[in-house]
Symmetry: C2
Subunit: 364 residues, 2 copies
């Protein structure tokens, strides 16, 4: 699989939904496969909360395989023998694109807490600039899971002429009150870490590791299904020799402690807040008097909505809400509820039915 990583600079800048202007910005972008001569085989994949441009393959400079490596590659669901996959790191994230850890051209200091709020629409607008820069008129598809699925839906709404298919996977048309509440607990942990310093930790050469760790531990629980946790960890006690701390009794505690610590070693705290606020704020129906069908009515792309039975963060019902609104708007949309054993994270793992449905959606 041909794979390329490139930093794209946009010197024309971007005006964000919040009103702030970034005079210039960069997007770190991976591409997989080959763009065909009429540029009709390009697929945009949009990452979720903690994802990055590294969606596929396992290059030497990355710690592990790309986040959608089970789905992207030769003969995989998103077949790089057929498609040219474009995978940008989102604006406001911390993996190479302009975000809170970037040096601001205005101040010559890292943005830190002063990086503006970004929204799903801001991401889509920046990705549209990337599309234009690549000379692509219309994506063969925009696809993503979780907040990635929200971006796919926003793309179909905002740029109806520039996307042929949109796959909205393990997502929702808006965050629920509970979604917001859980995110707020995570943000609270980060903000109250004494090393957060009101978001100015980089300038003070410190980092709120404890806060990010606790935030991730909570988020991680929402990504797994209760059934799967019971199967995997149940109430098994952690062996003494492999405990991360003396306070640990159960395997599930040790696992979360380990995962949280690992995450806190590479994920930026301000980015955590920005990404979670973007998720909370997504609500394309808001400006249509809460009528989602009105928000969807100009969509020309074919939609695929996928929900996973064991997902309790964005359960299948949230996908059905989108499908119902799509049907009421008279647009072309299919809804599929898949088994997926991994809860919300099911969107990351391939299985036969998931692969077949994505293939059929892309080939059709």
């Amino acid at each position: 699989m041909k794979s390329e990583r490139k930093l794209h600079s946009f010197d024309s800048g971007i005006t964000l939904e919040c009103g702030d202007i970034l005079k210039s910005f960069d997007l770190m972008v991976d591409t997989y496969g080959n763009l065909n001569s009429d540029k009709s085989n390009a697929i945009l994949v949009c990452h979720a909360f903690s994802g990055s441009h590294h969606a596929a393959g396992n290059s030497s400079e990355d710690r592990k395989p790309g986040w959608w490596d089970e789905l992207i590659g030769p003969k995989k669901a998103i077949d790089t023998d057929k498609f040219f996959v474009v995978s940008p790191n989102n604006l406001g994230s911390c993996f190479g694109s302009t975000g809170p850890t970037t040096v601001s051209p205005d101040t010559n200091e890292v943005y830190g807490k002063d990086f503006p709020d970004v929204t799903v629409l801001d991401w889509v607008n920046s990705q549209k600039m990337l599309q234009d820069k690549l000379g692509i008129t219309s994506w063969a598809a925009v696809m993503g899971g979780s907040i990635g699925g929200m971006q796919a839906l926003q793309w179909a709404i905002t740029f109806p002429d520039n996307v042929k298919r949109s796959a909205v996977i393990a997502a929702a048309a808006k965050a629920s009150s509970q979604n917001i509440a859980l995110n707020e607990v995570s943000r609270e942990s980060i903000r109250k870490d004494i090393d957060f310093c009101g978001g100015d930790y980089l300038k003070k050469n410190t980092f709120p590791k404890s806060g990010v760790k606790a935030a991730r531990m909570l988020a991680h629980i929402t990504y797994l299904s209760e059934e799967n946790m019971n199967k995997r960890f149940g109430r098994k006690f952690q062996k003494n020799e492999s405990k991360v701390g003396e306070f640990v009794d159960y395997e599930v505690e040790n696992y979360l402690q380990y995962k949280g610590t690992k995450f806190s070693e590479f994920f930026d705290a301000n980015t955590y807040i920005i990404m979670s606020k973007a998720m909370d704020g997504f609500d394309p129906a808001e400006k249509y008097n809460d009528e989602l069908k009105e928000a969807l009515k100009n969509i020309k792309a074919k939609l695929l909505i996928v929900g996973f039975k064991s997902d309790w963060l964005f359960p299948p019902d949230r996908g059905k809400e989108i499908q119902l609104a799509a049907m009421q708007s008279g647009i072309n949309s299919s809804y599929l509820e898949l088994d997926g054993q991994q809860g919300h994270d099911s969107f990351l793992f391939s299985n036969e039915r998931y692969q077949n449905s994505l293939e059929a959606f892309l080939d059709n």
Copy 2:
């Protein structure tokens, strides 16, 4: 309603499941109603996580009505015209019974982090000592919701001859992997608060308010149903003039911030850890090779198991597991699934069907 509050001292001490011995201990106990001459009308109510002896009424010395005030009182589900209700604060809690905030007779300093782990069985054993002290041979009923329900179940198992009825409400026969995981995130927030000082905060004249606040915010979400949160808060924005902080966007965030802060002003941090560990550790089937029916087979009390549809902390399925095991053991047990709109907290609120079922259970 006659109401009395009394500190009962047990100078004979108690040996805890962990092996530690408390040479003496106190239980703060409320009673409501009158004990009849043959002492056959006493009901023990067991409190949940953050509850106390103050289960009913609204005395001048308490901040608000008792936690089960909707159910306990004259002509209420637990009718104090008929029953004598005994409501102790649990060992290890922070409302008057011996716990981490108590001065240890051994060291003449507060126990703090050195207060031993207590279990549901320890609570039941200490409550049995209270029963003996009151001269009551058999409780007409032991009742409770959440960890209170776990105590009611443990009572029926451990002291089959000393309890006639046991109401296990919004509870489970053991904590799930997800239950433990969520508790661990809360504990992590507390432990990592710089003011926790390894649990020695009282000796250092400080208190981990931030950690306890974040812990409670998370726990609070698990007590509410997603549907109810959507109805109550939805995605409504908080008015600027009533925001608790500039970081707040949504009403649900403001609500959780407020509730968390309030809680952190009166609930002890070490107690939080002790109570949550007791919940995690409850598993009466463990010593019966995970066969719950074996654990239940000597029960003589009549059981009532109640689950609430909107409860996602201990969903109705967890109650059904107990009922199934009870049927397999051949003991007398009924299971009831009630509507309750308030999620896990539904056990705290009266409604006609809930009241009728408890009345019938107690009268029968």
